[in-house]
């Protein structure tokens, strides 16, 4: 059972802002979900190898060749805020 402090830590890891209400709801739901996925932890796996890809593909290489995909204008076309060919963001260095 995860505590409120642990849930807060997960919100922080996930880069999600939260209110006290969010925290309370998440605490109940996440603990329910963790209870449901507990069966996995109890499954005996012995020396079984983990599967990250169903066909066992590994390191697929291609030639390092430049191909035209997006223009600068296209790449920036959905930027929420920009200045010329730059994306504008708020202050990066913290004030405190």
């Amino acid at each position: 059972m995860l505590s409120s402090d642990e849930i807060k830590k997960i919100f922080k890891l996930s880069r999600l802002a939260y209110s006290d209400d969010d925290l309370e709801v998440a605490k109940v739901q996440i603990n329910n979900i963790l209870e449901c996925i507990e069966t996995v932890r109890k499954t005996e796996v012995g020396n079984t190898e983990p599967m990250s890809h169903v066909h066992g593909s590994f390191n697929i290489f291609r030639e390092d060749k430049v191909i035209p995909l997006l223009t600068t204008e296209e790449a920036l076309s959905n930027a929420p805020d920009r200045s010329g060919n730059f994306i504008k963001v708020p202050l990066i260095i913290e004030t405190e």
Partner: protein, 481 residues
Amino acid sequence: MSEIRKLGIKDLQSGLKNKEFSSVEITQEFINQIKQDELNSFVLTAEDFALEQAKAADQKIAKGEISALTGIPVAFKDLILTKGIKTTACSKMLADFIPPYDSTVTKKVYEAGGIMIGKTNMDEFAMGGSNENSCFGPVKNPWDKSRVSGGSSGGSAVAVANGYSPVSLGSDTGGSIRQPASFCGIYGIKPTYGRVSRYGIIAFASSLDQIGTFAKNTEDLATMLEVISGKDPLDATSVDMPNNKINLGTSIKGLKIGVPKEYFIEGLDPEIESTVKKAIAEYEKLGAEIVEISLPHTEQAVSTYYIIAPAEASSNLSRYDGIRYGFRDKEQKELKDLYSYSRSKGFGEEVKRRILIGSYVLSSGYYDAYYLHAQKVRTLIAQDFKAAFEKVDLIACPTAPTTAFKIGENISDPVAMYLCDVFTIPASLAGLPGMSHPCGFDSKGLPIGLQLLGRPWEEEKLLNASYAYQQNTEWHKKLAY
């Protein structure tokens, strides 16, 4: 023209060839139907774009240049990028996103002459099994408007089931094509992982996501699959397999169909059990040999999925930070706040829930216990199937444990919602091809689907069996409209 919406690819193309109607006329007719939609299945109608494409198709038809989809409208799930046409994943996060490029499947449909008629509603970022997690609201079931369409590709399923488009594209991560196909009484296929390029698809869980298609009949599924399949240099996980013409109509005499005992369990609606068993008996009548099999790790599949899929989702969705594209909370003055508030305000509840779970199971101290362990159980699930396919050619089972449930019925209980995918998730974890075809109705008049699963790359076997069943039954002729 009222009959147009009942037709599939083959009949529409023969009408186009014989000049009974033009592509512009049928495209306009489908668009008129979409405009009267009361089921909330489309989030965007691409009227001008589609009619331009239809005009070009008519010119080609006049010259006798006809490809697999020339002049045929196709509806696209709203996570498939379409250059210059808004693609939102039904999330506030991407509410204004206009893709600067086309996905590979988009290009393939265009190259085959298909008309992009509109973008369909879905669960936000494909996370959900009822289409209730969309920022555009739920999609209603055409057989009973008080019920869900299924999800996450609910809009694409309804587009076909209610005659707004002859075929559509969807995506399936844990059952998001097969389950809504079953709930809506139509055909849906999730190809083998790697059969279809994921380039230009808004990602949910990259080791599971696969693009597939919905149709009114098996032949149209086969046609669509031929169009969208193929190795793509822009998707390293796509696999170079021969993309041959799919042959339907071969006898299924002697075909060995396995029926997994773990799929007929408590919680399975008894009406579904009897209907699916009747359909399996029909296969036996057609000459198939029915064999009981066991997939011992079935019970662990949902839990395994709900570790692996959220883990991949939390990683994939970290790109939405309010900086380069997507929603930005402009009230925030500091970068850290901009990240967390843009994400918090841009994502819906289910998406946030999955990011939280994913971050937790990948976090230091828990990675081995959850994520790594789940990956090992995933291997065991895949091995179960491998062993079963040494004895049988196909597996037949119910697609979902219930028929379409009421809107709102499961929304406050994520775990209950997750269990809706209990029969579709195992094949997703193993990367196998799977499809759902209609096989009857329950006493409430709601459709029931039969799921067929096959060995990797053996989609043709699934489709051929489905075609044999279709030839000898009438379910595909039952329409919701």
